[in-house]
């Protein structure tokens, strides 16, 4: 993947050595950016990931230890020690793990190591959902109505009644779709607050929650921003309304909701709002401002993510910009290599997140092994994955296995090519949501572009597995018989004349 606007390589690499503080597909993707910039790399890995591609391909690889694989990736001291031992001068945190941990950014700063991302102050500002809301509201950008009182406060229940149902309980330190629960009635509120607090404490180490008005029928539109010390630009919006359990499963750029001249004005407005927020925060590096977009065309600020996001490839493919390379440039004190006026988006890109789950059975997480993998390929096809042959898929990490991204000249073509690519993708040994994704893409409500975050629930009756017809069943059972090792062995052992006769019937 080449950035159309890439500069000639500098005579000196931007950093002496960069440590990738993550794993899986994103660690590999960041490695590719480092390689394109000729920067030496260090991968860190927990024992269970020792055979993963990023570990095999990085210039250096160091094992990390911890009570659990996730725990190892959250061990700030261990990671910084490795940086110092290896002469690392910058760290790319990717997404998740320590990417939005201001303490990590600060600790690196104190040891003279560059954190590839915004400043600790900005991470803190945007990391707290309550302070970021207040900051954004002060910039004149709309935010959803909410309750700022603590649950124990005497005025709380009255405030809840005034706000009206449905509500959403959100963890103040949460984000990325985690730490959110919907409440439809007063009766549910108490137990939901309890579970929400416990989850918030467990996942974010901070049990503060707040309550916001919930918009059951809205779109999730987010804007990609990029900043350096001089300017902040935007790279358009991404449509992320296709979600299950508040987690995105299909994303695209541009959003079909901004069609036509009126749509263009709305797009401009929401993108400028995102730039205004980032500018006011003196934002540097890549970031995303997430909005709620109502059927009436109103938008409200939801949160700002101060990191590279999972779905960044759709923006990269439409704008021809390598966002991770830009992050590295900015972190090294250079300016971003594009300007707002020389950005030329083209075509349409869609991303599908392939997840280890039984999507037709309430998305139950699945475990298994990568027995065979054959990635789809071709023009406009991008498959970001850290999968490898023989890999055990366990409950240790997030169920997302890989991202399939398609770029085409129109949305219609992108959908057609995505369905084709999903059908061509072979991943045997673990249940995935592959067929489920195809059902969504085939659905008229998706192709019309008229959908919102309730899509998955609304059409649950349509998003079902196909039932084999008689011919398919025959083919499947025949394939089973002819692939069955025991049968193959028995047939080889059977002398030919008897093989031709088959078994004796009574």
């Amino acid at each position: 993947m080449t950035a159309r606007n890439s500069d000639k390589p500098d005579t000196e690499p931007l950093f002496k050595k960069v440590l990738i503080a993550n794993r899986g597909e994103i660690a590999l993707r960041v490695l590719k950016a480092l390689q394109s910039l000729s920067i030496p790399s260090v991968a860190i890995y927990h024992h269970i990931d020792r055979k993963s591609p990023v570990v095999q391909m990085a210039d250096e690889a160091v094992e990390i230890f911890g009570g659990s694989p996730s725990g190892a990736h959250l061990d700030i001291e261990q990671i910084i020690t490795i940086c110092e031992q290896r002469g690392v001068d910058a760290v790319h945190p990717c997404y998740g793990f320590l990417s939005e941990n201001a303490g990590f950014a600060r600790a690196l700063e104190e040891r003279g190591i560059q954190f590839i991302g915004p400043s600790p102050e900005v991470i803190e500002l945007m990391g707290d959902k309550i302070t970021s809301r207040d900051f954004v509201a002060r910039q004149g950008v709309p935010v959803p109505p909410s309750i700022t009182l603590a649950a124990g406060d005497p005025g709380f229940m009255q405030a809840v009644t005034d706000l009206g149902f449905p509500l959403v309980v959100k963890a103040s330190a949460g984000g990325g779709g985690k730490g959110m629960s919907i409440v439809n009635t007063r009766e549910e509120l108490e137990s939901t607050l309890r579970v929400a607090r416990s989850e918030a404490e467990k996942y974010f180490g901070d049990d503060r929650v707040y309550v916001e008005r919930y918009f059951p029928s809205a779109r999730h539109i987010e804007v990609q921003v990029l900043g350096d010390s001089q300017q902040v630009i935007h790279l358009g919006e991404r449509e992320c309304s296709i979600q299950r359990r508040f987690q995105k499963i299909i994303e695209e750029s541009p959003s079909p909701v901004f069609a036509g001249a009126a749509g263009n004005k709305q797009r401009e407005s929401i993108c400028q709002a995102a730039v205004a927020i980032a500018r006011a925060a003196h934002y540097t590096s890549a970031g995303t401002v997430e909005f709620l977009y109502t059927p009436e065309g109103e938008y409200f600020f939801l949160e700002m993510n101060t990191r590279i996001q999972v779905e960044h490839p759709v923006t990269e493919m439409v704008y021809g910009v390598d966002l991770v390379a830009e992050q590295i440039r900015v972190a090294a004190g250079h300016s971003i290599s594009v300007n707002q006026n020389n950005l030329t988006p083209s075509g349409h890109a869609i991303e599908c997140r392939l997840c280890a789950e039984d999507a037709f059975n309430r998305f139950m997480p699945a475990t298994g092994k990568v027995l065979h993998l054959k990635a789809p390929s071709g023009e406009g096809v991008r498959f970001d994955s850290g999968l490898y042959q023989g890999q055990d898929i366990t409950t240790a990490f997030d169920p997302m296995l890989a991202k399939l991204v398609i770029h085409a000249s129109s949305r219609e073509e992108a959908i057609t090519r995505m369905i084709k690519a999903l059908r061509e993708l072979v991943l045997l040994g673990i249940d995935t949501n592959n067929e489920y994704l195809i059902r969504i893409l085939e659905h008229p409500a998706f192709s019309s572009g008229e959908f919102d975050t309730a899509f998955v629930e609304r059409y649950v009756g349509d998003l079902v597995a196909s039932i084999p017809d008689r011919d398919q069943l025959d083919a499947l059972l025949t394939a089973a018989l002819l692939s069955d090792r025991k049968v193959q062995i028995l047939e080889k052992a059977t002398p030919q004349p008897y093989g031709a006769i088959g078994y004796w019937r009574n």
Binding site: V195, T394, V426, L428, A475, T478, L490, Y503
Partner: protein
């Protein structure tokens, strides 16, 4: 040989009848009925083959993992279980003990709210489990006494289908497996 396979809760007997240039294969279902197909396969590598059934050609990918065959065909993945004729064909697990709570997915125990001997009500919270960052409440499917906790304690991990809790129903007549003579 009469190999048996299970797909989508139906058991099939798939028997090779003739093996020459193409094969004749008989497929019989436990729902009744059987028919025959002409088939052949040309393996392109260890798991990629060109399958022909009654003249229709398909590309398939197939891998065997213990007793399960994973097949990619017609743009999707299918799983067929090999039925071992000499073990209990089983079928759908009979939750004859209706007070038995099995893990719907592999995971870890976060919290246990009951102990053996406790009286519980239908719908009562028994434990909190987690898998892939998804928390789930495990509730009693009926009222009764907690007979057994199938996990060692908080922090214990378990597989899909593992027995988490067994509850003896209050109503003795609901107990199964006590048909006369046992």
């Amino acid at each position: 040989m009469q190999p048996k396979y299970r797909f989508s809760e139906t058991q099939f007997t798939v028997s090779p009848l003739k093996h020459s240039a193409t094969r004749l294969i008989e497929i019989a279902s436990d729902q009744g009925g059987s028919h025959q197909v002409n088939a052949g396969i040309r393996w392109l590598d260890h798991c990629h083959g060109e399958l022909t059934v009654n003249g229709v050609v398909r590309h398939i990918y197939a891998v065997q993992d213990d007793q399960t065959l994973h097949v990619h065909m017609d743009g999707k993945v299918w799983q067929v279980d090999i039925v071992d004729e000499f073990s209990d064909a089983g079928g759908a697990s009979d939750q004859a003990e209706s007070g038995l709570v099995k893990a719907p997915m592999p995971g870890v125990v976060l919290d246990i709210s009951v102990k053996e001997g406790d009286q519980v009500e239908e719908g009562q919270l028994l434990m909190l489990i987690e898998s892939m960052k998804l928390q789930m409440e495990v509730k009693a499917s009926l009222s009764g006494t907690v007979l057994l906790l199938g996990v060692d304690g908080v922090g214990a991990s378990f597989d899909k289908g593992a027995q988490l809790v067994n509850i003896r129903p209050h109503d003795e007549s609901l107990e199964s497996g006590r048909k006369g003579g046992e």
